[in-house]
């Protein structure tokens, strides 16, 4: 694991007061808020800022971090001390703030350590990205939970615990999958917390999703749109043969009932036709366009009152 400079992330001095850290954080979190910012790396920045503030914004965690950071520079290898709770991250880089997560339990060490002290482990929240096609059939994704532990020489190492998480068929973005007992371990024999995975879909320019309905743009040739045709269309649930009705225009929607994301009821798949003109790049093509211009009485601007 690499040491990260949280002071640098917030642009504050190592001696900054708690108030200055809070101010710097608020300023940055507003600047890079993904709903507002135009910066291409707004998401990543927000993640870094939140991670840094998660530690520096808490006096105890900051003290532990300062202790850890003596003489270190960003990027150096680092091994966390034990009993700081389990960190986690995900294959594919969904949640990379493992480092701050190690600090999640720092504040808790101060609590009474008597035999009667029991405390359920904290819940963990993360998001997991899947492809649209995965939502159609369900998928098993590997999630890696990192747990710090001591080896026989007393050194602290991180152990990877991998979970194969079964994502059920028919999920939609924003849904939360609760994995009982897969969160942070409890104290004094109490149960572990839960792991909550928020479902997100990996961006795919071919599809747009609204609830369980899926919209897909399908390019068609002018003669397919004008004369009607049977065309093969790749869809999230596989290739389907679709009848394009004669006389179709760009923007026409063909509804394939029940071919959206599965569920009760399943969503629909809307194919949106887009007429694409072949380029007039050869003599033959130009000749064909000229023949149409000559022989077809067609004024596309008729309804403009011209």
């Amino acid at each position: 694991m690499e040491y990260k400079d949280y002071y640098q992330a917030l642009g504050v001095d190592k001696n900054a007061s708690a108030e200055d850290i809070k101010k710097a954080y608020r300023k940055l979190v507003r600047k890079y808020h993904p709903d507002v910012s135009k910066a291409a790396d707004a998401d990543q920045k927000t993640k870094e800022i939140n991670e840094a503030y998660g530690v520096l914004g808490d006096a105890e965690k900051r003290a532990a971090y300062d202790e850890l950071g003596r003489g270190r520079r960003a990027g150096q290898e680092f091994h966390p001390p034990p009993d700081w709770g389990a960190g986690f991250d995900f294959e594919g880089g969904e949640a990379e703030d493992f480092f701050s997560d190690l600090f999640a339990h720092v504040g808790r060490r101060a609590r009474p350590a008597g035999g009667a002290y029991r405390m359920r482990g904290e819940d963990i929240h993360a998001s997991i990205g899947i492809d649209l096609a995965d939502a159609y059939r369900g998928v098993t994704r590997t999630v890696t939970l990192r747990v710090p532990e001591r080896d026989e020489h007393g050194r602290v190492l991180t152990r990877d615990r991998t979970l194969d998480v079964a994502i059920p068929k028919g999920v939609v973005p924003g849904q939360q999958l609760r994995l009982s007992g897969q969160g942070h371990p409890g104290a004094g024999g109490a149960g572990a917390g839960d792991l909550f995975l928020e479902i997100a879909f990996n961006p795919d320019p071919r599809y747009r999703i609204e609830g369980r309905n899926v919209f897909e743009t399908v390019p068609v040739a002018p003669w397919e749109a004008a004369l009607g045709a049977q065309i093969d269309v790749p869809t999230p649930s596989g290739q389907v043969e679709v009848s394009v009705p004669a006389g179709s225009q760009s923007g026409r929607k063909l509804r394939l009932k029940g071919r959206g994301i599965p569920g009760q009821p399943a969503g629909d798949l809307y194919l949106m036709l887009e007429v694409v003109l072949p380029p007039a790049a050869s003599d033959k093509a130009r000749e064909l366009y000229l023949a149409m211009a000559r022989d077809m009485a067609f004024n596309p601007r008729q309804r403009m009152g011209a």
Binding site: R120, H125, T162, D164, V165, A166, Q176, R178, F196
Partner: protein
């Protein structure tokens, strides 16, 4: 040593969270949730008994977003809810723009 196990979860749409479970998942006191539901800032049926309140995926996500704004900016609850509502509207409009082919 890495080892692998297959785990299945439940979607909150199938098995919803109780008041206590939502509070724990957000790391807040149940009173925080009750206050937000009663003020109409968070889902949950005010007309039914607190013990029967059930919370789904959207409620958990909203509660955590409200909480982070309230904490980050020491914001008033109504103001935090307004920010979340506006952010949702921005997201909806952005998605709509995107669907219409704009950047």
């Amino acid at each position: 040593m890495a080892h692998s196990e297959i785990v299945s979860g439940v979607l909150l749409e199938d098995v919803a969270l109780s008041l206590e479970e939502l509070a724990r998942a957000c790391d807040v006191e149940p009173g925080w949730v009750v206050r937000h539901v009663q003020a109409g800032l968070l889902g949950g049926e005010v007309s039914v008994q607190v013990e029967s309140w059930r919370f789904f995926s959207g409620d958990l996500q909203r509660a955590r977003r409200l909480l982070s704004i309230e904490r980050d900016f020491e914001a008033n609850e109504e103001l935090a809810a307004l920010v979340v509502d506006l952010a949702d509207e921005v997201r909806r409009l952005k998605a709509r723009l995107h669907a219409l082919g704009a950047q």
